[in-house]
Amino acid sequence: MPPNAAASVGSREIEVEVLRYRSDTDSRPVPQAYRVPFTYDMSVLQGLQYIKDHLDGTLSFRWSCRMAICGSCGMMIGAEPKLACMTFLRDYHPGPLRIEPLTHFPIERDLVVTVGGFVKKIESIYPYLIPKTPRRLDEGEYLQTPMQLAQFESFSDCINCMLCYAACPQFGENPDFIGPGVMALLQRYNGDSRDGAQATRMELVHTENGAWSCTAVGYCSEVCPKQVDPANAVNQNKTKSAIDFFLRFLGRPARSGGAASDGNAP
C-alpha cells in the first residue's frame, strides 16, 4: 500500500465480509466482517490491504503487481471469480461485499488457496516450443506469418490466475480435469506453426481428464481477465481429438509430432 493511501481514504464506508480460515484455530471457514473506508479509485485489493494494515494484521491473501499482470489476487468477489486488483469497491457500495478464496480449490489459509495441482498440470503439457526440426543459430530464426501468430496469440496471454478454474463446474466435479487455463497453454503451443510436438500433447487431450471433461459451459472465457478465451482452446481440441479418433479407422497415422522424444523433453 502506498504511504499516502491511508490519508486519502474517503468518507464512504463499505462493509466487507471475508471468509477466514486459520487451520490452527478454526475447524472450518468462518466469515468475518470489516468496515472499510474507501475512495472512488480504490480496488478490492486496496480494501484488503487497508484491513491488513489498519484493522486486522492476521488476514492472509496473495498479491503482487496490483495491475492485472501477475495473476496472484484471484478470489471470489461477490460470488464471481475476479482479480481483486481490477475490481473496485465502489461497485459494491454499501455492501456487504462477500470475499472468499477461489472456489473449487483447497484453502491453505484465509484467501490463499493451494496451487500445487495447477502447477503440476502446467508441467505435464510440455509448456515450451519443441521445434519440428532443430535449427542451428546460423540458419536464422523460425519464421511465422501474422496469420499463423493470430491463430494462437490470445492463448499466450494467460497469467495463470486460475479464475477460469473457479468458473468451471466440471473442474469442481473432477479436480483431475486438466482445465481451461492449462488447455489454453497447451493450445498456445499446439497451435504454433513452429511447434512439432502436437502428437505428444494430443495424448493428454484424448483422455477423460483432457478435453473430454469439458461440457462447453463457456463461463471460463467470460471471467478471463485477459481475454484468453480458454473455452475456445478446449473445444478446438475436442474437434481435433475427435478427428484423430476417426482417422484411426481409416488407417491413417495421426499427425506426427514425436519431437518430444528427441531429447528436449524431461
Binding site: 480460515y21 484455530t25 484453502i107 491463430q151 463446474p169 459451459v217 475436442k238
Partner: protein, 132 residues
C-alpha cells in the same frame, strides 16, 4: 480447536440451477426439444413407409390438440436452444479468418442466428406454398 490443512470445501451439487450457469443448463435441457422434433419426423417417416393407413394415423396425431401443445413446447425449446447454441458456437471452432482478419465471435453468432431465422422463414414459405 483446529482444522485440516488444506481445507476442502464441500462440492456444490446444484450449481447448474443458478446464475451464471442457467444459460448453459437451458441449452443442454432444450436439446431434448430438438431430439423430440427429430423423433416426430422419424415416426412420420416410418409410418409413411408402413403404408397409407399408418401415415394417416400419424397425420391425425399431428392435428390433435396434444400434438399442437407438444409442438408449441418444442418450438419454445428450439428457440431457446438456437439462441444459446449460436452463442457458444464461435468458441467450439477454430479461429475463422476472412480476408486476412480474424472474424469477431459476435459476428459468427449473429451470422448463425441470421441463417436460423432465414431457414425458419423459408420453411414457413415452402409449407404455405405446398398446402393443398
Amino acid at each position: 480447536m483446529s482444522g485440516p490443512r488444506p481445507y476442502l470445501r464441500p462440492a456444490e451439487t446444484l450449481w447448474w440451477a443458478r446464475r451464471p450457469y442457467l444459460a448453459y443448463t437451458l441449452r443442454e435441457a432444450t436439446g431434448i426439444a430438438v431430439a423430440g422434433y427429430a423423433l416426430v419426423l422419424l415416426v412420420g417417416l416410418i409410418s409413411l413407409a408402413s403404408g397409407e393407413g399408418a401415415y394417416d394415423v400419424w397425420l391425425n396425431f399431428l392435428k390433435s390438440p396434444w400434438s399442437l401443445a407438444l409442438h408449441l413446447l418444442f418450438l419454445i425449446g428450439m428457440i431457446a436452444h438456437v439462441w444459446t447454441w449460436f452463442r457458444i458456437m464461435p468458441k467450439t471452432m477454430p479461429r475463422l479468418v476472412i480476408g486476412g482478419r480474424i472474424v469477431p465471435q459476435n459476428r459468427i453468432t449473429a451470422a448463425g442466428l441470421a441463417v436460423a431465422v432465414a431457414a425458419f422463414i423459408v420453411i414457413l414459405l415452402v409449407a404455405e406454398w405446398m398446402q393443398p
